[in-house]
Amino acid sequence: MIKSKILEFGYLPRVEGHMSYTVNFETGDVQVEVLEGVRLFEGFVRGRRFDEVIYFVSRICGICPCSHNLCSIKAVEDAFEIQPSEQTIKLRKLISFGEIIQSHVGHLYFLALPDFLGFKDIFSALKKYPEEVKIALRLREVANSLIDVVGGRAVHPVSTTINGFRKLPSETQLKVLLDKLKKVRDDAVKTVELFAKLSIPDFERNTEYAALKNEAEYGLYDGYVASSEGLKVEARNYKDTVVEVVKPYSTAKFSFRNGKPFCVGALARLNINKGQLNDEAKKVIDNVGVKFPSYNPYHYNIAQAVEVVHCVEESIKIIEDLLSIGLRDEQADVKVKAGVGASVVEAPRGILYHKYSIDEDGFIREADILTPTAQNVANIEEDIRVMLPTLLNLPRKQAIARIESLIRAYDPCISCSVHLFED
């Protein structure tokens, strides 16, 4: 059955990467099938030097390449015991926020929205919803500019490096970005309003929500890992708290904590760290009247939209800060030494973890990567399982629509998910 799906290219549309699902309405069996081909990144980065591996790993995903690049860089810095400068961190945050904005907006409008508006794709929606499409394009253009200017290229950045940046943006470039960001503040707010108005199923399932926590700010770039069930672990040890299980129907392994599925990503972040959002993001949540913590996975989309508002505002603050202090050319000193390093960033879809064992010449000996979607697949499957009884009385087409829009709400990044650590 899977074979014919593949040969007809019958994977689930409008998610990144190849996946499918099987649901048996009689028995209640649910299988979330990740069918993406495996490329074996952790295998082939071994024997390659740290300063090229940080760019190789961005190729794990074309939608969240910066997250892999930055997490990789931080893991190497952890191994070399390097603490990058404030300026470097601010610039990296701009890239991280830019990526969250472009990824979330791309997902929300191109991948998720068509379901809710009754269209099969954004192209069909163009005629009836031209304003919405323009909003998406404006937000994405600004976000991609941000990554392009600071990171050197929007997909697969090149100016980021260990302990610094190969090239700094100019003051003029930052001013242009600042202006553009201010102009899309409204678009970001409108995105939340749009998604808050959509009619979504009234389904809830409380699970464990895990996210980066940072005492000083809404955790996205750095912090320790916390959860709604009291987890508190240093980033470098996060992997020890997760168990992965192979399923015969999936090239991605399924993750469990304490024997149960758990959830990462925008919904988890909002559920745990809502209090640390900036004022603009908090205001928009109040205005649309959505309550977090929420245990409704369809609220994932609104959570992403709220984060777009947050990231636009945070980017504005960072650029204003950099313009007032001025950018300085910094000597990026890197002392290579043997060691093990690991780190975590919040990729758009959730906790991303990279760990490397590096030898004295800087070559990678071991690599471990745990991606957000690999952590979410078990949770998605459980959600569908629990939701199934409520779908039995619906017309088949509607039941399928509910299941598929639930999967899409998680914004799965399947290419990422087949990159998992060894046991």
Binding site: L7, F9, R14, H18, I63, G106, R153, R166
Partner: protein
């Protein structure tokens, strides 16, 4: 001519397919400001990432991103080819095999068992570009592609012209941008032997060109290797050519250690 005085034209039917890849090339295409505009000019029949994916019937133009990661994908690729008049290979994975060609130099079984020690169902093939299996009509190289090149290629095909991808080195684009030459700075840059068309963003951002668009035809690879040997060790030189396009003529010899 119809009544309104314009040429009536039937929109070409296109399919956009992704094999095994990171979707970065399709995303880079989607990032381009003319993405929606150009797709309005065609009838998109299959586009799994943004619409519906099923392979059905005939396509005037098919765009394939990614490389075939296993035997089933080789079969899909062949079906796409059978049903398409024009086939475009999109991005490094499709054009030159991509980043995973690195694993071709390792023992595949050992690499697979490192990542999936408890799985017997994963069957892989060597990472190769799609023209190892089917005839390709046009190549849009790069990791990722330059979104503009995809738009221009489609524009050309819609107008019945041949898409043009530059046949000059990346160096030309550094000169146009007035980027300081990486080789002159003593860094190991592959610009002189790499196909241009990307607008050289990497040197502009302070990084070397690492050949993601694959070899430039008839470039002087031997001379480049000589220059690079003065900058980096032989081992690093070999590895430098083992990134996105190690199977391609010109890069292959150096990647296999013939320096």
């Amino acid at each position: 001519m119809n009544k309104k005085g314009s040429l009536k034209k039937v929109k070409p039917v296109i399919g956009i397919f992704d094999l095994t890849d990171c979707n970065g090339c399709l995303w880079a295409f989607a990032n381009h400001p003319d993405f929606l505009n150009i797709l309005k000019m065609v009838k998109v029949k299959s586009f799994r990432l943004a619409s519906e994916g099923k392979l059905r019937g005939h396509y005037d133009i098919s765009i394939v991103e990614g490389y075939p990661g296993d035997e089933e994908e080789v079969e899909i690729l062949k079906r796409i080819r059978e049903n398409s008049d024009t086939l475009i290979a999109l991005g490094a994975c499709a054009c030159t095999g991509g980043i995973q060609t690195i694993r071709n130099f390792l023992k595949l079984d050992e690499v697979k068992n490192y990542v999936y020690p408890d799985s017997t169902s994963i069957k892989l093939v060597e990472a190769k570009p799609i023209d190892a299996y089917v005839k390709v009509d046009f190549y849009i190289p790069g990791c990722p592609v330059n979104g503009r090149e995809v738009v221009e290629a489609l524009k050309a095909l819609i107008l019945g012209k041949t898409p043009e991808i530059p046949n000059y080195a990346v160096c030309v684009e550094c000169k146009i941008r007035e980027t300081e030459c990486m080789l002159v700075k003593g860094l190991p840059c592959l610009g002189p032997v790499t196909r241009g068309g990307c607008n050289a963003p990497c040197p502009a951002a302070g990084y070397i060109c690492d050949g993601c668009r694959g070899p430039l035809k008839e470039a002087n690879f031997a001379s480049e290797a000589e220059i690079l040997k003065q900058i980096i060790k032989k081992k690093d030189l070999t590895l430098l050519f083992r990134r996105y396009a190690s199977l391609m003529e010109g890069f292959r010899g150096i990647a296999e250690g013939e320096v």
